[in-house]
């Protein structure tokens, strides 16, 4: 009923700052995930929706709505216009989509946002999951569109926006209306292509630069050439340290993070062993 043309505007630079993005681990996981994923396409019966209100926002910022649960309230949008349109439906798209050339389903460009929201609602969110048929592009599912918006310019209501919406407006779940979307529906290679590959490029570049420079330095100091360096155990250890360092430490803050992580993992164990300590130390009265 309401189909839009979705374009990928992949203008966001890759950004890799979390420990979980490590190259080899995610690769292993993705390859296991592909064996276990089930591509479920929920039935594309659109729930009958009477109207869709889109707001045409000339500004880039997406303002967050302030719905009140289970009450109907029409209020003016934050962009300052003073007209409010009447509420007509229960389920609405929760975020005004910023678009330059989009056309609403009814052709009208509404300057207002109607906040009559009870739940996260979206034409592509059907029966608790994203209807993959609506993400088709050239006959193939556009996975990037399922994960995210790409940028504020794009017209999408994908998983990121849904989660952001739920963070601001928490919803209760119920067994009558379960959410069955699972990020493992999106195949591993889509994740790899979109997130892992740019980061892997960055990390490999860093490792190569460090490696070349260190090999040159060692060669100039000791006269041992590259091939002979690879045969030396100490050099191989240094190489290993360099690779692990590049993987784990990507920002200056990561050094602190790694130290804290190590502390945290052993903290609970220390608390349990405390009662056995006082046999030797004569009373460990920690406050």
């Amino acid at each position: 009923m309401h189909s839009h043309f979705y374009e990928i505007l992949d203008s966001l630079p890759p950004c890799s700052e979390k420990l979980f993005g490590s190259a080899s681990l995610s690769k292993l996981t993705m390859s296991i995930s592909i064996a276990l994923l089930s591509l479920s396409s929920p039935p594309s019966t659109l729930l009958p929706k009477t109207h869709f209100f889109f707001t045409h926002k000339p500004t880039l910022s997406l303002t967050s709505t302030r719905p009140s649960f289970f009450t109907f309230r029409a209020s003016a949008a934050d962009n300052g216009a003073g007209v409010s349109a009447p509420a007509a439906t229960v389920e609405e798209p929760k975020v005004p989509e910023a678009s330059e050339g989009s056309v609403g389903s009814n052709g009208a460009v509404e300057p207002e946002k109607v906040m009559v929201l009870t739940k996260f609602g979206d034409p592509k969110w059907i029966n608790g999951t994203w209807d993959l048929k609506q993400f088709q592009k050239n006959g193939q599912t556009n996975w990037d569109a399922v994960i995210d918006a790409g940028s504020v310019w794009a017209l999408k209501c994908p998983e990121e926006l849904r989660r952001k919406w739920l963070e601001d407006n928490p919803e209760s779940s119920s067994n009558d209306d379960p959410v069955v979307f699972d990020t493992s529906i999106i195949p591993w290679w889509a994740w790899m292509k979109r997130f892992h590959l740019p980061e892997a490029e960055l990390l490999n570049g860093r490792a190569a630069m460090i490696g070349f420079f260190m090999a040159y330095l060692v060669d100039s100091l000791t006269g041992v050439g590259l091939v002979d360096q690879m045969g030396n155990f100490f050099c191989k250890t240094l190489l290993f340290v360099a690779v692990v360092g590049v993987l784990l430490i990507r920002k200056n803050e990561d050094i602190e993070t790694v130290k804290k992580l190590l502390d945290e993992t052993t903290f609970y164990d220390k608390q349990w062993q405390a009662t056995w300590q006082d046999e030797t130390s004569g009373g460990n009265k920690k406050e």
């Binding site: 979980f20 997406l62 649960f69 963070e167």
Partner: protein, 317 residues
């Protein structure tokens, strides 16, 4: 899911019917003797008059604010606070919770724990808990009430309860001939906040250990006996359970990404079965090794994906 008022009185009654002597009093202090053979003196108040009782062995089962623990200088522990409201629901709403307990996660209901709606016979208990933001507990309680608003509509609050929940064991659990059990020792698991079973079990192990070491009350026991019969047995049996739950709490409750990952992981049938078995028997359930590995890998995968989505979310606004 039980009603403490019913359980507590049942336990007392059962102890009495097995020959225990019940003294209805408030313990104010426990005097630690200076010599190894002198008794412990328990000072208590019965109807506002002071009494003393001389005993050989003390088991401190007096909960999170244990007087016994203070007397033996067992050390402090950090506590979480659990806050709960008992709400009587209209019949049609209560029908929904006939055989359903709910658990809610999210930053709006708790920053490092979960919120719950647990049915209790004829009413529900709606509550939440937190470690790091105890002063905001009311805000989180409002959050969970908001989340389940439609499901508890028309309900009446009949009781409000709050309690500190120890996060880890005290530094000293056995000192001299005094042993601490249950919440007084800090035996509450992370992740699920389970304390009742472990309190009862530790009490039983401690009691049985004392009976065995003292040969039915004939010999005087010492600290070594208590440690051997009670602490060692306890740590050997349950330490791994505690450690795994601590790991789960740190990984899955720390952020919204972790919580989304947990919800995904828990959709799997094997995970549900393992969780249920572990929760029922309070030990790490023994499953198929291959399935275990698959479960761990799927968890890692979910965590990675949810963290990626979360990272992208930060960029949006």
């Amino acid at each position: 899911m039980l009603r403490r008022e019913v359980l507590d009185s049942f336990l007392r009654f059962r102890a009495q019917s097995h020959g225990a002597q019940l003294i209805h009093a408030l313990v104010t202090e426990v005097d630690v003797p200076s010599s190894p053979n002198a008794p412990y003196i328990i000072h208590h108040l019965i109807n506002n008059s002071r009494h003393s009782l001389a005993v050989d062995v003390v088991i401190g089962a007096d909960g999170a604010n244990s007087r016994v623990a203070k007397s033996i200088k067992a050390g402090n522990y950090s506590c979480a606070i659990a806050f709960q409201e008992r709400i009587k629901l209209p019949d049609d709403k209560m029908e929904y919770y006939k055989d359903l307990a709910e658990m809610y996660v999210g930053n709006d209901v708790s920053p490092d724990f979960y919120a719950w709606v647990f049915p209790k016979c004829d009413h529900v208990a709606v509550g939440t808990g937190t470690v790091c933001s105890k002063q905001d507990i009311k805000k989180y309680q409002r959050g969970i009430r908001e989340r389940v608003k439609c499901k508890i509509k028309g309900g009446k609050v009949i009781k409000v309860e709050a309690h500190p929940i120890p996060e880890h064991p005290r530094s000293i659990r056995v000192a001299g001939r005094v042993a601490l059990v249950g919440d007084a020792a800090g035996y509450v698991t992370k992740c699920s906040g389970e304390g009742i079973y472990f309190a009862a079990k530790s009490g039983r192990i401690c009691g049985e250990g004392i009976v065995k070491a003292s040969e039915g009350g004939e010999k005087v026991i010492n600290e070594g006996d208590l440690k051997r019969e009670y602490l060692r047995k306890w740590d050997d049996k349950y330490l791994s359970t505690y450690k795994v739950l601590d790991l789960l709490q740190r990984v899955f409750y720390g952020s919204n990404a972790g919580r989304e990952a947990m919800v995904e992981v828990c959709g799997d049938e094997y995970v549900q079965r393992m969780t249920f078995d572990s929760y029922l028997y309070k030990r790490l359930a023994d499953g198929n090794r291959v399935e275990d590995v698959k479960m761990v890998l799927k968890s890692i995968g979910s965590l990675i994906r949810c963290n990626i989505v979360s990272r992208e979310m930060q960029k949006l606004y």
